[in-house]
Symmetry: C2
C-alpha cells in the first residue's frame, strides 16, 4: 500500500519530466524503489498508472481552487492568483512545459479514456476562471469566452517559454495578462 503511493508519486514526476510514453517501467521501478514485476500487483497496465496519477492531480487542483475560492476575497484577486501559477512554477514550466498541456498533446493523438481525464482537469481551470467573471457581473456566455481567452493565453505562454526555455518570458506574459484582466473588468 505504501509501494503503491511511491509508484504514483514517482510516476507523477517522471510522466511530467520525461513524458508518458517515454517513461519505461524500468525507470519507474528504479525511481519508486520497487521491482518492476511488482507493478502488476498494484496496477493492471501502464495506462492504469497514469489514471491513478491523473486522479491525484485532479484532486489536488480541486483542493487548491476550493481553497482560493474560500480564502481570497475578490474575484479579481482570484484571477490574479490563478495566473501567478505561471510565475511560481516558472522553472519547471520553462523546462518541461505545462503538465496538463503536455499530456493533452501527448494523449490527444491516442485512443482511450485517458484524454477525457486530462480534459476534465482543464475543465476545472476553465470553470474556476469563468466563475470569477460571472461574479464580476458578466453573462455566462461572456464569462466563458473570457475564460477561454485567459486559459489560451496562459497555455500559449507556457508553450513558448518551454520552446525558448526562458522562465523570464513567463514573468513578462503574466504581467501582460494581469493588465488585460484589469482592462477586462466591467466598468462601473
Amino acid at each position: 500500500m505504501q509501494a503503491k503511493q511511491a509508484i504514483i508519486q514517482a510516476a507523477r514526476r517522471l510522466f511530467y519530466t520525461r513524458g508518458f510514453e517515454k517513461t519505461s517501467f524500468s525507470e519507474l521501478a528504479e525511481a519508486a524503489g520497487v521491482p518492476k514485476g511488482n507493478f502488476y500487483y498494484h496496477f493492471k497496465s501502464k495506462d492504469d498508472v497514469l489514471k491513478a496519477v491523473l486522479e491525484v492531480r485532479h484532486g489536488d487542483i480541486s483542493d487548491a481552487l476550493a481553497k482560493w475560492s474560500e480564502n481570497i476575497d475578490t474575484p479579481e484577486l482570484r484571477l490574479s492568483r490563478f495566473v501567478e501559477m505561471l510565475t511560481k512554477d516558472q522553472e519547471d514550466l520553462a523546462h518541461y512545459g505545462c503538465p496538463t498541456g503536455s499530456l493533452l498533446t501527448e494523449l490527444g493523438k491516442k485512443r482511450g479514456d485517458l484524454k477525457p481525464m486530462v480534459v476534465a482537469i482543464m475543465d476545472q481551470y476553465l470553470s474556476f476562471v469563468a466563475e470569477q467573471w460571472r461574479r464580476l457581473g458578466y453573462s455566462q456566455a461572456k464569462a466563458q469566452s473570457l475564460a477561454t481567452r485567459l486559459l489560451a493565453h496562459c497555455q500559449g505562454a507556457v508553450l513558448l517559454a518551454h520552446a525558448y526555455e526562458d522562465p523570464k518570458l513567463l514573468v513578462r506574459e503574466v504581467k501582460s495578462i494581469k493588465l488585460w484582466i484589469k482592462e477586462s473588468l466591467p466598468k462601473n
Copy 2:
C-alpha cells in the same frame, strides 16, 4: 530519389497526425509505398527523417510568409492573414493540434539537435509578426512583446481546440484576436 520524396511527404503527415515517436517505420513504409529496409539507404536514422521533414516545413513557411509580405498591402492585413491560418486549418488543428506546437512539446523533453529546428520555425512566425508591428511604428521591444502575446494566444487557442476537439472554438478565438489586433494599433 522519388522514393525519398515519397517518404518525406508520408512522414510529414504521419508525424503530425500520429506523433513522431508513435510513428513506426512499418507504418511509414506502408504509407510511402517503400519497403522498410530501404529507408536506410535514404536516411541514416528516424531522427534524420524528421530533420528532412522539418527542413521542408521551414522552407514552406518561409515561402508563405515571404509571399504575404509581398502581396498583402498593410501590416494590419498581414497580421489578419496570419491568424486566419487557424480558421483555414481548423479541422486538422482541432483533431491533431498545431504541427509546430505538438512537436515542440514532444521534442522538448528530448536530447539532440531536433528541438532547435522546431524553435527555428517558431522564430519565423515570431519575427514575421513582430515586423508587422515594427512597421506600424512600435519600438523593437514593444513589437516583440506584442508578437509573443499574439503567438501565445494562437498556440493556446489551438491547444484548447485540440483538447475539446472543437473547431468552432478556433473561429471564436480568431475573432477575439482580430479585435485585439485592432485595439493594439497605434493611435494616430
